[in-house]
Symmetry: C2
Subunit: 343 residues, 2 copies
DNA sequence: TAACAAGTTC
DNA sequence: GAACTTGTTA
């Protein structure tokens, strides 16, 4: 269960042609046409190791699922009534993902399967869902939807092969077959992927799902900005019953970059003017360096950190899942004034 | 005359609406629409230091100018009957371009004005033009047209502001007001910019033109591949009367990169198994390190190197100057199989 | 201009 | 995985 790349994902509601037809404006048409033309003149010979298949799924009315419309998401830990826990599987020796508990940050390779475990206690009768959303860490970009960069956002992109267009724009993908990709960046909604929380398999306490991140943190869309990955446990009304977040960096050398960041933080705090005595148990920081042998239970405790806050955030609904993929928000910030690569 | 950034360029035949209308297919329409939509949802606040203005020029029938359709261009030096010479102005102390004579390579900053001097003797009565074309150095990509990357190839791109769409796709721009941007990548033609060779100003032997390169060598289009910049002296029939080429790298730190490449070449040749005694006058290699004080004449001698070859290459003509900008040729090569950034 | 950051190559 | 390349930051 390391990082097997043979999972087909993401899997999409395939029956959304009707929806698209409804919403299908000229923009939709042009978008389609453009992509097709673009694709026709592209030569794509790079076969990705990710197999994406056109899996037909039962149709789930989008309004039965919570859809995000809030301006920004809390990143506060919230165990909630069901003791919601998220666990990153301990990193094997050589891996495409590394979690640093001292940084509360996951470093991962682009386009690779990342297994993440979810666990709740006292499961209620009603269906629960887990939403995964990316959000910029900086206050400056908090409200800016995160979507895929323009280079990765067209039909010819191998990772978009056989996928509905509304998925192309999503940076985070989930391998769960019932995943729905929601959010419309044209009306400033954030994108997120939602899947129903299944039952753990026999003998297991948690449910494992595979995730992929299909843009680098350095891509033209994200532009090296820091990211938070936020998992929320929700019901069909989009009420939130749990939350867990961590920082994310999607990069080419996750191990190197994690070690570098940890070293930097360690040094920075050690040589700081005021020796902050905060939560810096740097000794056991990276669960990566040496393949950890701690049990899954021990791993879970990593996340039972913060105080319990009970804020019921009720998101407004939206009944369309199609979104026009081409939006790119270029941040109005000095940071990007000097850059040569981004616009 | 260092690298003044206040030149308006490129200047374009503004009267090409008729042409575009003729050629304007659905593709054209979609292309336009897409770009506009794209632009509308983009927020562009990055004001470039390049001022591009909508300068109206007299219309020149495209078929009066030579248009490239050959598969690939020779990079052989050719002085020709008019003793065609090209001179890179000696680099000032701190500059955005550096020419290495030992490498025959110019290192330059993106989106900066690069002055290049052109000189001929025995000027004939007929009009002469200079064509500037980029071509991949590697045999593997020799026939692949070089165009701008997808990130830089849309209306919202600041460098495309107020410019006709057929120019967006060009990596090389010329400040000459009579410049024409030709070539259609959809039919596998290379892009080039052509300007009529003017008369030297009083007291000068050469004509100076400013050039800009508006994609980095590392952009998603060029993908770090080595480039040749080829200047050809041509008449209205596209017959070639002179040629000069040099390697080009468009990068963020031209000085650093030049010095690094020169050092590398020096070491490589010094420690090589067979100490090649080729043309490696490394002592005076970089005209950059210390601001050279050699005269313009001395500079010209740099380029009078190779044997004279008299190959009259007559290119076929094309009468349209509009091209659909969206073509990107992704090279079918192992080199790109492992990369994370490019498709 | 030097040090850093992060994708690529070997 | 180390070394290199190359855009970014200070
Ligand atoms: Zn991307
Ligand atoms: Zn570019």
């Amino acid at each position: 269960m390391t990082g097997s790349q043979d999972v087909f994902f993401p899997n999409i509601i395939a029956d959304n042609e009707a929806l698209i037809a409804e919403l299908g404006s000229e923009i939709n048409f042009l978008d389609n046409e453009f992509r097709n033309i673009h694709h026709d003149i592209l030569v794509h010979d790079q076969v990705e190791d990710i197999e994406t298949k056109d899996i037909k799924l039962l149709y789930q009315a989008p309004n039965l699922l919570p859809i995000l419309a809030a301006n920004y998401l809390s990143i506060e830990e919230y165990l909630g009534p069901y003791n919601f826990e998220v666990c990153i599987h301990p990193t094997p020796s050589s891996s495409s993902w590394y979690f640093s508990s001292s940084l509360n940050k996951i470093f991962l390779d682009v386009k690779q399967n990342i297994p993440i475990d979810f666990k709740i206690d006292n499961r209620p009768d009603k269906a629960l869902y887990i939403r995964s959303t990316l959000q910029y860490s900086s206050q400056n970009y908090l409200k800016e939807p995160i979507c895929r960069c323009i280079q990765h956002n067209f039909r010819g992109e191998p990772t978009n092969k056989d996928l509905p267009e509304h998925v192309w724009n999503h940076v985070v993908r989930c391998g769960n077959e019932l995943s729905q990709y929601v959010g419309d960046t044209t009306i400033n909604q954030k994108l997120s992927v939602i899947f129903p929380l299944g039952m753990p398999q026999a003998g297991s306490e948690s449910v494992r799902e595979l995730f992929q991140f299909v843009c680098l943190s350095t891509c033209v869309g994200i532009k090296r900005r820091e990211l938070d990955l936020i998992f929320t446990l929700e019901d069909e009304e989009a009420a939130i019953f749990g939350r867990k977040s961590m920082k994310v960096k999607v990069c080419a050398c996750p191990k190197r970059d994690m070690e570098k960041e940890e070293t930097k933080m360690m040094k920075g705090s050690a040589s700081a003017t005021i020796p902050k005595t905060k939560k810096r148990k740097i000794g056991q920081s990276s669960s990566a360096g040496k393949p950890s042998t701690q049990t899954a239970n021990e791993d879970f405790t990593l996340y039972n950190l913060s105080e319990v806050i009970f804020l019921r955030e009720l998101y407004s609904f939206r009944d369309g899942i199609f979104n026009f993929n081409m939006q790119i928000a270029v941040a109005n910030h000095d940071l990007f004034k000097k850059r040569k690569t981004f616009y």
